[in-house]
Amino acid sequence: MGSYFIRRIGFIIITLILASIIIFSITQFLPGDVAQVILGQFATETAIANLREELGLNEPLHMQYLNWAGNFIQGDWGNSLVSRMPVRPIVTQRLVNSAMLAGLALLIYVPLGIVLGVIAALKRDRLPDQMITGVSMAFVGLPEFVSGLLLISFLAIGAGWFPANSSIDPDSTFFQSLPYLILPAITVSLTGLGYVARMTRSGTIDVLRSDYVRAAELKGLPGSQVLTRHVLRNSLLPTVTIVAMGIGWLLGGLIVTEAVYGYPGLGRLLVYGIQRQDLPIIQAGSMIVVAVYSLSNLAADIIYGMLNPRIRVD
């Protein structure tokens, strides 16, 4: 396990380096000149030239990359080209917001998806399975702006249980934000639930068919023990992978949901940065998303290893 763990971390470092090169290169190809963007349309040629010199834009590309990467590692993520504010507090604030939403959504859809998936597998091809599979598929297919708007009109405007707008105050704590988080969390859960339930269902069906489950039944174990001791541990392996991929999606990819609720998450920050060509925001935001993806996959691998001794013991 030790060497496996170290190897995985090695791969993550390589992934991050490659990602940083790609992110840096892409931002170089965005149209427009950085100095021009900063100084605006009416800046003089000399002012632009001076600023280019100051920003190091005249140096060769690989030096620019190394400077940027070096600063990034040391915590200097640059200033926003638009607001002139340091990027790091902005991005971390948004990361915290996204993490709160992601955490709540995961708490809702992972346990629920697993339970529904296992029930569907146990009642395979019978009514409960058909209902679970059908409904979860429908939710996966339902666009978030539709499900979001429906939730707002029924639960927020209609019933008045939750606020319709989730643009929370940056200073508020998790518990203060909680009521604002519930509707967006339900919205993304509807999508995530289907994936988890389906993955759990097919994993569980495979394991239920296996020889060792047959052997466990013929040992005379009660059904509940066959399920908990022999089935789940093996059948949840594919679910772990799907959940880890979901974490990356929740943190960086919730553009629509965040927009529907006006929620200040990382996804919306990235869109905002791209619209305004705010390079430091794009770079820092993308790097954070890549890092979160890698770390959640690492976490998945570790959990995978704990569930599966063929990987753990070596």
């Binding site: 020889d211 060792y212 466990a216 005379g220």
Partner: protein
């Protein structure tokens, strides 16, 4: 105990599956009784209903399966009437099961000890600690080396033989009245199989369990069981004590099955194997009269009119054949003798010299930093030479390098060093670098025809591929040639259009053989081509290969772990262990002492379907060592039952030559081996001298 003292008393059981096409009566009217301490061998080909019967007996049928009539008694308990929840309490406590594939039957993510302890916890009311001790005690009982550490390991860390011991330990831990063993040794090597059969035999002396032993291997039944029941298409054809049934064979099906098994004392030069024509009927398509009539040699009109019941012919010997009297008259085995060809030495087809195949192996973090290179020596200096129209059999346990050697010769695997010469021309290691005209000269037939035929392509297309690719034939020529090839492998012409899933296992393998012959090869590599098939199909395929060799002059490199099959089909046999050759010689010579101690162990492990043959019990300890860590000196010394002394650990043994090119690589002088091994296997056989 029930009134007659039987632990299991099954009467007139019929099992029916509800399917889309209507009810299928898969097992019909079967009765059997097993006494305490008795091992009942249930044999039959695949599709005969063995497993269905076993599962019905313990009420473990799928939702669409049902016992539609009969009674099942376990001692005093009426299993048939018992409510579902009560049945579950009997599973594991009074009835246990040892499953076929030990690898798949053990939970990969649960400690071995816990899986055994489960039984004691649930059925014997033990607490965790007691149950754990019980698990270790059971592991000790099944002679597991180092039981305490095995209990703390996972399935993937144990070999197949050890896993089968674990399953046996689990099944025995509640001291059940009745146990089902469903092909428990089929997935194992012959040597391991022999050890496990010995173990079951020994354990039976301590326990009084009644055992239903399901197998397709008549040799295993002869070695282990007290009684035998021959199941065919869901009905028992013959039943009786082992000695009676094997000696008298009062049903043509039993006779047919035994005739299919190759003999260790005769080869293709002397006899053709008898095979049973046709196929086992499906349960929805049974003949009106005797269900075996369409495949029976003794069939007469009356057989096809009425189904004969199972009748007691002699005391406790039952047969369902109308013509038992005729069978009783001629008991001797009828082998079709083959004409002896005067052998001429053919040209040399293949000369492989000093073939080595090392796989780089870097464990753990090393792969990231490229440190500490280890090498897995799969094939370590093997040379073979083959002439035309000649078969070289290669035998050895799994993991000994047989398949790697074959793949190196075929070029699928690139050899690390050595020379491969085909018809005098040196070949490149990789098949990609070999010229077109040599490609067609080496063809392969693989073990699993399901995986080697494209499921989307009709059988004829698969056979046509090499004709188009390697022989540049026109479309018309191809069509003619495909027809010709299908005829050569005795498949009807309309099979050309069929998809693989419409063919049986044996038919698929015939297509694979036809495809190999389509290229008109000089050398055909057969990697366990018959291992996954039923005995009767094996026999017909071996006959087919022999006929094709006679007409086409092709040479075969025949790899198998089944020594009787290798003995039958091969001219020469090479014995391989841990990547090296240890003995090579003509098939007759290799089976007669003096032989290498490893060969001796392999031979003594062959399950011979004749209870009168008493084989020496030479068993190998443990499993093949890892080719990453090859023992010093003679690599066989760690397991050698005839280890000669310190010299075996220190020095590599020399080759010792005998007459006719028979060679043995061993420190023990030939004279001494001859003395130790006596007359060997053949002379003790009462099956009659081969030729």
């Amino acid at each position: 105990m029930s009134d007659n003292g039987a632990v299991l008393d099954v009467k007139n059981v019929t099992v029916t599956y509800e399917t889309d096409k209507g009810p299928l009566h898969t097992v019909r009217n079967v009765s059997l009784k097993i006494a305490p301490g008795e091992i009942y061998g249930l044999v039959g080909e695949s599709g005969s209903g063995k497993t269905t019967l076993a599962r019905a007996v313990v009420r473990y049928l799928p939702a669409n399966g049902k016992i539609t009539s009969g009674s099942i008694k376990l001692s005093d308990t009426d299993l048939y009437q018992l409510p579902r929840e009560e049945v579950r309490k009997i599973w594991g406590s009074r009835v246990t099961m040892v499953h076929q594939d030990p690898n798949a039957s053990i939970n990969p993510s649960m400690l071995i000890g816990d899986q055994i302890a489960e039984m004691a916890r649930i059925h014997l009311g033990m607490n965790k600690k007691q149950a754990r001790d019980r698990a270790i005690e059971m592991l000790t009982r099944v002679r597991m080396p180092d039981p305490e550490s095995v209990a703390k390991r996972y399935a993937h860390q144990l070999s197949g033989g050890m896993l089968q011991r674990v399953l046996i330990a689990t099944a025995m831990s509640t001291n059940p009245e009745f146990m089902i063993m469903d092909e428990p040794t089929t997935a194992l090597d012959v040597t391991t199989e022999a050890v496990i059969l010995d173990l079951i035999h020994e354990l039976m002396a301590d326990y009084n369990t009644a055992i239903l032993f399901i197998t397709h291997n008549l040799g295993v039944v002869a070695r282990l069981c007290d009684k035998i029941g021959v199941l065919y298409a869901g009905e028992i054809m013959e039943e009786g004590s082992i000695d009676e049934v094997f000696k008298k064979r009062l049903h043509p099906y039993t006779r047919g099955l035994l005739g299919c098994v190759p003999r260790v004392d005769a080869s293709k030069k002397d006899i053709s194997l008898s095979s049973i024509p046709g196929y086992i009927p499906r349960p929805d398509d049974l003949p009106d009269g005797c269900i075996f009539a369409p495949r029976c040699e003794l069939v007469e009109d009356a057989c096809e009119k009425e189904r004969p019941p199972l009748k007691e012919i002699a005391e406790n010997h039952f047969s369902a054949c109308r013509r038992v009297d005729q069978l009783q008259e001629k008991i001797e085995r009828k082998d079709e003798l083959r004409e002896h060809h005067e052998e001429e030495l053919g040209d040399i087809v293949l000369e492989a010299r000093n073939i080595k195949k090392y796989f780089p192996f870097t464990p753990g973090i090393g792969s990231l930093f490229g440190s500490k290179k280890a090498e897995l020596k799969a094939v370590d200096d093997i040379s073979v030479r083959m002439r035309s129209s000649f078969t070289m059999g290669i035998v050895g346990e799994s993991g000994c390098g047989k398949t790697t050697l074959a793949r190196c010769i075929a070029g699928i695997e690139e050899a690390t060093s050595g020379e491969i010469e085909l018809q005098g021309k040196l070949l490149a290691y990789s098949v990609k670098k070999r010229p077109h005209d040599t490609l067609k000269k080496i063809q392969m037939v693989f073990q699993n025809p399901d995986a080697s035929l494209n499921p989307q392509h009709p059988a004829g297309d698969s056979v046509a591929r090499p004709l188009i690719l390697l022989r540049d034939m026109s479309r018309k020529e191809v069509r003619e040639k495909v027809k010709e090839l299908f005829k050569a492998v005795s498949l009807p012409e309309d099979y050309i259009k069929r998809l693989p899933h419409e063919l049986s296992g044996g038919e698929k393998q015939r297509v694979a053989i036809a495809r190999a012959f389509a290229a008109d090869p000089a050398l055909m590599i057969c990697d366990e081509p018959i291992s996954s098939l039923d005995v009767s199909v094996q026999a017909s395929l071996m006959n087919l290969l022999t006929e094709l060799q006679d007409s086409a002059g092709t040479s075969y490199l025949f790899i198998s772990h089944d020594l009787s099959a290798v003995r039958h089909i091969s001219d020469w046999i090479a014995v391989v262990y841990l990547g090296r050759l240890w003995e090579i010689g003509s098939a007759e010579d290799v089976f007669i002492p003096p032989y290498h101690p490893y060969t001796e162990a392999l031979l003594s492990a062959i399950p011979i379907p004749d209870p009168e043959v008493k084989q020496d019990r030479i068993r190998l300890k443990g499993s093949v060592p890892s080719p990453l860590n090859i023992p010093s000196g003679c690599r066989f010394h760690t397991r050698c039952p005839r280890k000669y002394g310190k010299i075996c650990e220190k020095e590599e043994p020399p080759w010792q030559d005998m007459e006719d090119g028979h060679r043995i690589c061993c420190h023990i002088p030939l004279e001494e081996l001859r003395e130790l091994q006596g007359d060997g296997l053949l002379k003790k056989s009462s099956a009659g001298g081969g030729s």
